[in-house]
Amino acid sequence: MTIPVAALLKKKEKFERDPELLPDDFRDEVFRLEEEGEWIVDRVPEPFVEAPTKYGRSKKVPIANLWHHKSCGQCGHIPGYSTSIFWVMRKLGMDYNDPRDQTSCTAWNYYASATSNAAAQAAVAMRNFAAAKETGYFPLIHCGTSYGHYKEVREELILHKELRGQVRDVLAKLGKPMVMPEEIVHYSEWFWAMRNEIAAKQVVNVDGIVATVHPACHYYKLVEGDAIYDPDVYGGQRTAIVTGLAEALGAEVRSYSTWFDCCGFGFRHILVQRDFTRSFATMRKIEVMKEEANPDVVLTHDTGCVTTLDKSQFAAQAHGRNVGVPVMSEAQFAALAMGAHPYRVCQLHWHSADYRPLLEKMGIDWEAAWTEFQEDLKRLERGEIEFLSWEDCDA
């Protein structure tokens, strides 16, 4: 039996937050520790957008001068994901920094294998924060797990002086100060904040496109108070991330009964125990979406979720399951709506589930685009160009 989502939403159309119940603001502690000389706070630069969060705190989402904390899985296996984030930012005229002085947050491995510890994880985070501060750009976190884990690290460092001492000693050996950002910001929050500006530059109509949204667990469950909840989206009862952008672009976002479920990534499971991942991703997510919402596309906002929901469908299709729907990040979808090339920018040839019917419905000629991309590859092979450039993307 499926959950009567529509009836439940109607019953609780609007959730009013009680200002009296607003929890303590973690930033009070962050600034107090700065006053005590424990660390330097990297302040959110102007301009920023104030976004409502789960319990009512207003979060500053910076708009420009961002230090892109890249994602292992996005850059490694879904390169169109990171490329689309950069491309949209460039189209909106935002200056940014794409650093080499950045490591992974290493949390994928930590959650998968536990071959690390609280001090190492916090030191990795603080090294990256210090590296960002050195450039004068403010960190924007691409990966949902990095974002969730860094919030965990912030909580642990606030609570435990002993841990701060350990991390400070390690950073001193690297010649780096302790730096804590005023806000930990996920790229999808930037897309939410800029949704109207993105829609203003839209050249592809997506009015007839039906989307289902999968929100990333590490975005809104792990240290949940930082996640954006907009009273105008789902009545403020679910995180507005991804959905707010898709609706601003004109897509129809349909709900489904397993919206709150995880994707099945599992960290270790996606790599070496995929029977679980495939089963969960298809039986609890994709099949339910297909049955209840019949989407043209699944939109999500995290590395692991795109990978899991996209790659798990092939084997399930072979078993005759009710799957077969393209999966991409909302950054790729927004880029497509803004006229991005499906291969040069969105790099959809790295995806598994068939995205071509979606492109056709959006009125994008994927065959012509693929021919253009093949020409690019020939130029690369002939040595006419060493790399595809940003200018080539819009040629």
Partner: protein
Amino acid sequence: MPATASALLKAPNVAGFDDVSYEAKERLFEQVKADLRFEDYLYGCYECGICVAVCPSARFYDFSPRRIAQAVAREDVELVYQQMEEDIWECSQCFSCVRCPRANNPGGIILIMREAAINNGMASAKQALEGYTRIIYKIMSTGTQVSPDMLQPDAFPDWGPEVKDVSDNLELWRRATPPETMHTTSMSWDVADRTLVELYLIWFETGALDMIKQVDEGLHMILEELMEERLEEMGIER
């Protein structure tokens, strides 16, 4: 066996792991409780089952975050040991369970239990990480978790024919990505040399590298040698 042993326990060696003394199990549990995060993660349990209802692993395995939170809260040393040998590696680490009305963090408790399992070279840890050690090598040595060249058809046959397309065209397709940092094949992006050795120093200084020794001595040796060599080249003293 003390009186805390209960009908909840399966036979000690049900999963094929050797039983150990009660004292050894107690020492293990003390290590779990000594983690500085332990008190932030466990407050009590209503037995409401919300954590199980939202848990993806509970749907496909004989696994229950509630059972783990309760065993730890009751200080049921025998059951906690059994869970460390059998259950903890099933967790998806999605943290759906933090919806707990008592503000418990079963996923966090499990992470601490896993760390203890690694630090003690437990059989469950070694088994769980079989086939995974190449990933540990990748993240610890390159600073990025998964690289484009890991997309091999024999490693991911269930991900469809596109994996072979990527693998066959890897170098060319990577050069066909516009961001300057992403033309790499053996790492997700181009991590600067200095950045990498700073990461190595973190692994040494925090004891993270030592943890590898308990589960894979060969891997530990390779990583240690690689990292020491690079640190020396860069003139960084430990």
